[in-house]
Symmetry: C2
Subunit: 337 residues, 2 copies
């Protein structure tokens, strides 16, 4: 009998350290015999008129066709007349939910133990509408947009995620005591969806209080769902609890079942090409992609190998206090498979 | 020679535990011979048409006349047709800056040592404009307003505070990579003011990154200045680093030199009247009021007595793991004066 056809996935290695950490993923996937074939795309060096950005039309088509992809850091080129690469991807692919699992890495000590939560961020509207204008000189406005459709969609994703991942509680984060209509609509949608999931506990937490609770005792939270800007803030706060963006995975969910996993840290041009970068965030993001593809065995095996390598402590990159190269760290992970 | 005329200050004991913790302040001030006479005002039990809120016109006049006041927690009565008490005070008294010193209390252990920073929050506009509307069914908007006038005013306050309090750095917190016009205007104003204070280092930090840095290493920050909502979020986050809102002071600065210090924690109706409340936040807020009045000796002496009592650990209220009553804790502070 012949082997099943491989799954084709888009890979954006990205800029700076991107190609090195993408290479790490490719090697770990190969060692774990993940049945994935990568379709690689790079950011172009000029604006593609069809996307109004440095992202090529072909690369977006690749994600649309494959429905699954992995993205390294992209440095948006400085200059006017084009959109940020991250925002373009979110808009063009309608990536409506940003999911960030955040957990303490065994053996890597921070001020917090046993962090284990998931932030789910609405990724298309809110304060990111891009609608701003000057009313009169010295007075500017920006519009925050909340829609029933986008709120229901992300709430539905959050509850479905909780249910299918053995989670018990969803907390909707808001500031509806001040923004009664916008955040109020967001909450209303969360409540509607909550009713369909009686087995999941639902609660509402004001964002300022949420941040205080998170730094005092992150174990109070399980799955958090929230509008765009709050998600931006809280997901980074949570990453900080366990060591930063170099260690935390992220996955964007789009309509028609698209999943684009990404490392949300920067492209670190200062260490690019020096075999010093930590590939953990991109590797763990790739693991979320495998889970999305329901390749649970491969996902577990690779995640365990990454966490065991870090826990063992013998091979760690410089950002974690070690002196391993990217390639030695990667080899160590492959050895743990 | 006769004693100098006492300073008259407005006191809002507030609701719930408010009267008990206000009593604590009165006793400590008396023991320290602070030359202040209190003019007490309570929240009314019906809406005052002149303020459209449960705050009486007389109480606001009292603050305007005295220019200095202290406020306990106020529970906004539930129901429609009136404004939140806190927001009414900010609006009516034009309390444009909310200043929250946040420092580790010696002897009271949290995950963080040596936190010592000041958040300064624009308190009148931004996301708190109250301007929201439904565009069509299922689509709502809220307006964030940033003005040159309010941004310059709070930036000026922040740099002046830094200079007069021996601080070295001011960080402006923003999301101007997304809200280029609104947060961009805020930053532009901060930069203008920064130029007048060459002795103070000025930097700009994106809010998501700021939150990650704060939970990883709060010692990276000194004075932080920011628009309204970011200040709401970050000041609570910072309070969480050192133990919560029960321990952190707050002072609101208004035009014409008004200073209204306040405990920002809740009114804790469950323990009200039971002599269990922790008066620390209100006491330390009262200390910020003394500094505003340039009564530096009294301020130092009282602050030292509070911190020494907590550090000693013999008399602590239940929220800090002790079993002291409010009155015993207060007596212990008076004993340390
Ligand atoms: C780079 C920036 C536009 C982006 C955002 O604000 O969403 C980033 O912070 C993120 O979280 O992906
Ligand atoms: C109670 C609420 C309206 C208030 C605010 O959002 O400003 C509170 O969180 C604060 O920080 O004083």
């Amino acid at each position: 009998s012949s082997a099943p056809a491989p799954i084709i996935a888009t890979l954006f290695p990205g800029d700076g350290i991107g190609p090195e950490i993408a290479e790490s993923v490719k090697q770990v996937f190969q060692a774990a015999e993940v049945p994935i074939e990568w379709e690689e795309h790079y950011v172009g060096d000029q604006i593609d008129p069809r996307t109004q950005s440095f992202l090529t039309w072909e690369s977006l088509e690749s994600v649309r066709r494959n429905r699954v992809g992995l993205k390294g850091p992209m440095a948006t080129p400085v200059g006017k007349g084009h959109r940020s690469l991250n925002l373009t991807l979110r808009k063009e692919l309608n990536l409506y939910a940003n999911v960030r699992p955040c957990y303490s890495l065994p053996g890597y000590k921070t001020r917090y133990d046993n962090v284990n939560l998931i932030t789910i961020r609405e990724n298309t509207e809110g304060e990111y509408s891009g609608l701003e204008h000057q009313v009169v000189r010295g007075v500017v406005e920006s519009l925050k947009i909340i829609t029933r459709q986008a709120s229901l969609r992300v709430a539905e994703y959050a509850f479905h995620y909780a249910k299918t991942h053995g989670r018990e509680r969803v907390s909707a984060i808001h500031k509806a005591n001040i923004m009664q209509k916008t955040d109020g609509l967001f909450l209303k949608c969360c409540r509607e969806v909550a009713e369909k999931y009686p087995e999941i506990t639902y609660e509402e937490v004001v964002i300022d209080n949420c941040c205080m609770m998170l730094v005092k005792n992150p174990a109070l939270f399980d799955v958090l769902v929230m509008p765009n800007l709050y998600g931006d803030i809280i997901s980074d706060l949570c990453a900080g609890l366990v060591g930063g963006l170099g260690l935390t995975p992220s996955c964007n969910i789009g309509e028609a079942g698209i999943a684009l996993a990404e490392a949300v840290h920067g492209s670190a041009p200062d260490i690019a090409g020096k075999n010093l970068a930590n590939p953990t965030a991109l590797l763990l993001s790739a693991v979320t992609m495998l889970r999305h593809l329901e390749l649970y065995d491969k996902a577990e095996r690779i995640q365990d190998a990454i966490l065991n390598t870090i826990a063992e402590g013998k091979y760690r990159t410089a950002d974690l206090g070690g002196s391993s190269s990217t390639t030695d760290f990667t080899k160590a992970i492959c050895g743990h498979l």
